[in-house]
Subunit: 499 residues, 2 copies
């Protein structure tokens, strides 16, 4: 057994080295690689994926995982869980033919660049041949991966949130629709006038960076084990708790975009940084699931970052950086502005209340694509029609519509629903956090330290050594319950809109 474990660990280390190389290459691709280098890079990514794939599907590795899986009750709990996950992953990988797997990786190494250009040119035409390839490969992958009790789009959902099904999501979005849609109507009819004139002014990008750099320290991100950079679309990536990186995108005429995407990504980044470093050599040293990750980013972004207390502490700093633009904007006016509810185009800029509608739109389109009811060439039209149905406004451009997100360019179908689920988790966690930590006082003292500490102990530290639902259960001693989310939203926005 001892020997089997050692041999397994040796292959794991090699696989991690390949993944580390891919981590470096994709970080470089997203943040700074010269545009003209992407074709050559695709070849090398192809070779590295092939090597990793050969190792991951080697007889040695498969047998080692099988042997350990058969004896898993003799393993320590961390390794036991890792082996369970590896066994599941192996069963999945073996079903996809190697040449198709590699072809997909090569496509992935180029598609984000093509998407970025297409977005820049505001042209879905420029992107759709690539997206068509991605979807067509994903459709084939689904066929390979389907099981008796898991068909079609459920296969994709399961990749990002184990055991998640279309049925559960239908129920979840059903509840949100039932209670939030009429509430949103009330808000739209309210007479509250929220000042927005200042928001469209030019805000120097260098100063926006300076403010994000300040937020890094406020939220307690460890600069010695991570960094912040720029990319087309903000994201967080990491390789163990010692190397966690995130990006922000700056818009001169939309200054709160960078602020809240920075806080959002810091939520993800804190999660990764606070995982126990003893797990760094294992495969369970990352976040437990997409939705759990999103519960952290949205809790930091919305519940902390849009609170009155947070801005009581930091608005003077913001005002001093942008004196010209903000000198006659009061704290209350600013607080109302960052919590205004309205129909808008960009998901990442959407308010908390309409946010789930953006997710529903994507969920509906993904289902249609994989149920065979929609073709990629019709995606832009389908997007625009559905958007008009939900939000009552016409999509102005591909950039503000179907091309706004990087996810599909990265082959990530089934990912979006985890955002809504994460928001629901965040409200449930916040409810329990508030009972144990003086959140308001913490924020007023210009830190999130005691909150980080609570999250570290309840959620972060264990990494993915447990299933997400078990982590939640252990942290707050109850199961997932979306009622918290709906109650939180209605409570918060009733106060703001005085209804």
């Amino acid at each position: 057994m001892e020997t089997t474990i050692k041999e397994y660990e040796l292959i794991r280390k090699k696989l991690k080295a390949y993944n580390y190389a891919m981590y470096m290459i994709s970080w470089d691709s997203a943040t700074e690689a010269p545009k003209g280098s992407f074709e050559d890079r695709g070849k090398y990514v192809g070779v590295l994926s092939e090597q990793a794939y050969l190792l991951q599907t080697s007889k040695d590795y498969l047998e080692l995982v099988n042997e350990l899986n058969e004896n898993k009750d003799k393993l320590d709990p961390v390794l036991k869980h890792e082996i369970e996950l590896a066994k599941k992953e192996n069963d999945r990988t073996l079903k996809i033919p190697m040449n198709e797997y590699i072809e997909f990786q090569v496509l992935m190494s180029q598609s984000q660049e093509i998407w970025a250009k297409a977005k820049n040119n505001n042209s879905f035409e420029d992107f759709y041949p690539t997206l068509e390839k991605i979807v067509s490969m994903q459709r084939k992958f689904i066929k390979y991966l389907e099981e008796d009790n898991m068909k079609g789009y459920n296969v994709l959902l399961d990749m990002y949130e184990p055991k998640m099904t279309v049925d559960t999501l239908d129920d979840f979005f059903g509840l949100l629709k039932e209670r939030l849609v009429p509430f949103f109507k009330k808000i739209q009819e309210s007479n509250i006038n929220i000042r927005t004139d200042f928001a469209k002014l030019g805000f120097d990008i260098q100063k926006q960076k300076e403010f994000c750099d300040y937020l890094i320290d406020v939220l307690g991100f460890d600069r010695n084990h991570g960094l912040m950079k720029e990319s087309e679309h903000p994201f967080t990536s990491g390789f163990g708790s010692n190397d966690v990186r995130f990006t922000v995108h700056y818009y001169e005429h939309d200054f709160t975009s960078s602020i809240f995407s920075c806080i959002h990504e810091l939520g993800h980044a804190l999660y990764e940084q606070q995982i126990d470093p003893v797990l760094n050599d294992t495969n369970v040293g990352g976040g437990a699931s997409m939705s759990l990750h999103e519960s952290q980013s949205r809790l930091y972004e919305n519940m902390l970052g849009r609170s009155h207390e947070f801005w009581e502490a930091h608005y003077p700093k913001l005002q001093s950086l942008f004196n010209e633009q903000l000198k006659d904007v009061s704290l209350d006016e600013f607080h109302m502005f960052i919590n205004r509810v309205e129909a808008s185009f960009i998901r990442t800029e959407a308010d908390e209340l309409t946010y789930p509608l953006h997710i529903m739109l994507r969920f509906d389109l993904e289902r249609a694509l994989f149920d065979g009811d929609l073709e990629v060439k019709d995606l832009e039209n389908a997007w625009n029609e559905k958007f008009y149905d939900y939000f009552g406004i016409e999509v102005e451009s591909a950039k503000k519509g179907v091309l706004q997100d990087i996810h599909w360019a990265g082959g990530m179908f089934g990912y979006f629903p985890t955002y809504a689920l994460g928001s629901a988790y965040s409200a449930q966690l916040y409810y329990h956090l508030e009972k144990e930590v003086d959140i308001k006082q913490t924020l007023l003292s210009k830190t999130t330290k005691s909150i980080n500490e609570w999250m570290k102990n309840k959620i972060h530290l264990v990494g993915s050594t447990m299933y997400p639902k078990d982590i939640i259960q252990k942290a707050i001693n109850e199961e997932f319950n979306p009622e918290y989310y709906v109650n939180y939203l209605i409570n918060k926005y009733s106060k703001i809109y005085n209804i």
Copy 2:
């Protein structure tokens, strides 16, 4: 034969993929990786080097190279040359035991970070245990690699400049000492007063970056296939002509440092970018040797970048960026300033005339380290004593002395002499360039286009498909001759110092 070539190319592609991964990782290490990530990263670099080493020493690869080498006269000239080089490399690699090779790679992945910290702390003590490990491993490697007609330090020289020997360098530096040292004395005794008061003022780093960014376009660097960034010590690296990157370091109180290191690195970068892209999949798609590379960087930096014509074209731009500091500094005063000759501490900031002395110092110390006349613990003292002998001034700090260069931290012993050799090549090339291209008119029109074009056709395009001496021979129809270098220097500085 066809099949053998195909099999060889397949392994070459894999090896290039590993090297590409290492290229990404080391670029990241030098420019932005979080400090706390270096330990974990060392593990993965170890695995990747091991995989590359296993492939490079695999029976398959060695046999393929041997077979092709035996039939090399049947190969096209490009592949023939590549196979000759591979055969030489194989013979070399096989002599170093695998565990020591990997140990060295792991050490290399950490040593640059340790060096940067030590330099920052101004403490040779902090770096010397690491440097001792590097030197001790290099000494062992020399023993493994020695041949009947190549002993000791010659082994290291041969790595960077094939066929270069200590004897040749002794002759070369002998000529420089004989004619330049008395000339330097004359300059020191001259009455010319060069204005330097403005140079110590604070020059905003953001504006320095802006000027370097401007130089990128002046020199015709292709932004679509490369980028500029910051690091502790400026360098250029690349992976084929489609991905060429260089760095600059900015000092607030030494504004010409970034300007000339930028032009210097652009010389290297143009070389890499102008190599025929059809060579990108081969192993002969890079510069032909260190000295040939240095001939380009120093030609651009000194012969073009410090010329009166260059600044007739660009001084107004510089003046407008730094109006406060330069408003009462005339073009002639600036031109004199950037061509002043003096004893100084930092090699990369040294003037053209004293530059070879800095190289001689390093050459002497490297020889002593590898002849066994000097131990690493005594290196700082030895440096400081020798420095006083050559320059007549006391070294102020490790930062300005033994810790100033990154080379030794990267295991690059035997590299420094190529700088002096490169300078000599540059003067010889310049002589012939001037006969065919109107250099002055080109520079006055704010470009280097016709010069780039000449270099492309004469030197760059062929990459390393030929030996450096053959490239020179073919370009200018004569052999290496250091007289051009001495004549150029004496001619130029006689005019400037009016002697």
